[in-house]
């Protein structure tokens, strides 16, 4: 049976890893390669590495750092941040990324998804969608590390991504990010029901129960988490033991 994946998210910001709250209030959490080695040793299912200031600073992805960390990463690796062209994708795959996450470019220039899927296959085309809920309860998609509103509906963006050949959606709630108050289950449900490619839920995990909710109620195929693994004693392995108790298939 296909297992539900638990995926630590590493956010890279100004030469080191960091974690914030609602895409703000950043705390430094140390070196990249060291973190990858630790997760490798702990047999983590997969890793997501996002260079969150690349697009804002209008610079290319940091290919060197991806090369360094991929050399130590014997598990699947998704890389995102600053991906604008098919050449960026090609170079990231060459230096060892297994999948490339497109956020701003995948939304402003969705044709890129098609190009990537046709050239390198859907399995490496991840579209990352950051979502905020307005006071009137309407969801809308944000780009540029959550700084620019698009007024686009996440369901529309996810469906278009699927149609253009994306193999996976990384769905993040900006409102829940770093709060450890739980995933936005309603958001995950809405998107999961609208598309048939896998969804990685992101933003808000504070305990293992939140992860179970994202899977059972939300319909996520995988759960990503940052703060819980960086600022608490909770671990991916314990999370899996908890999910297993709930009848969710995991790899132990």
């Amino acid at each position: 049976m296909l297992k539900v994946r638990i995926i630590p998210t590493l956010l890279y910001r100004d030469f080191e890893l960091a974690k914030g709250i609602r895409f703000d209030s950043w705390r430094r959490i140390g070196g990249v390669v060291q973190a990858v080695r630790v997760y490798n040793m702990r047999m983590v299912d997969e890793l997501i590495f996002l260079d969150i200031t690349a697009t804002l600073q209008k610079r290319d992805p940091n290919f060197q750092i991806v090369d360094d960390l991929a050399d130590e990463c014997f598990m699947p690796l998704t890389v995102g941040g600053g991906v604008r062209t098919i050449q960026d994708v090609q170079r990231l795959l060459q230096v060892g990324a297994d999948k490339v996450a497109m956020n701003t470019a995948g939304i402003e220039f969705p044709e890129l998804i098609k190009l990537v899927a046709n050239k390198f296959g859907s399995q490496c085309a991840v579209v990352s969608i950051d979502v905020k809920k307005s006071p009137n309860g309407k969801y809308s998609v944000y780009t540029h590390s959550g700084t620019q509103s698009t007024d686009l509906d996440p369901i529309f963006v996810a469906k278009r991504a699927e149609e253009y050949g994306a193999g996976e959606i990384l769905l993040c709630s900006i409102d829940r990010d770093g709060t450890m108050e739980g995933y936005d289950i309603e958001l995950i449900q809405q998107v999961a029901q609208a598309i048939s490619i896998p969804i990685i839920a992101s933003g808000g995990a504070g305990n293992y129960e939140h992860m179970a909710q994202a899977v059972i109620e939300g319909g996520a195929s995988a759960v990503a988490a940052g703060s819980i693994f960086q600022f608490t004693q909770q671990t991916p392995r314990e999370a899996k033991l908890f999910l297993k108790e709930k009848g969710i298939p995991v790899r132990l």
């Binding site: 297992k3 299912d45 014997f74 598990m75 699947p76 060892g96 046709n118 399995q123």
Partner: protein, 207 residues
Amino acid sequence: MSKVAIINYGMGNLDSVARAIQECGGNIEITSSADNVKSATHIILPGVGSFRKGMENLKSLQLMDVLKEQIIVKKIPFLGICLGMQLLATKGQEGGETEGLGLLEGEVKMLECVSEERLPHMGWNEVDYEKESSLFFSIPSHRDFYFCHSYHFVPADDSHVIARTSYCQNFVSAVQKRNLFGVQFHPEKSQAMGFQILKNFLAFSHA
């Protein structure tokens, strides 16, 4: 002394495969040259992407004949990973019907989902043995490996199937014909179990 030729035909994750083989003690050569393929003790065809593009690239690099010669006549151990396994087939449907290497009779088709299943088949899933194989030495059946694909290889002859995985109607996840091995999962991304597969492949020599 082993020399593992990892075929570079512009189809993805060479670096990951090369690093994993190094960790398993193999000497690697990432190559697109027929001469290097000829002098290798082991050949790996990695790859992610579409069947049609993969075949186009192999053809334009003029590697088809040397691969067939080394595998069939010289009986050099060969491992196809993911797309590299699929390309062994007679034909594939991805990107329009395309002729494959034809080293293992069969066809590559899109997976067919049942009920709640989603495509691509992405993540860790069990590899259930159908047959004994030296590729699985010291690895128990039903262990999890990492998969990432939407197409699968349907061999014409079931006797080449060494493992299946229960998703989309129990697709074929590993094949073997003498010195020819293919795995749909990614051993290079499957941590300890994956490394054991690669070590077993490196230890295989056709006596």
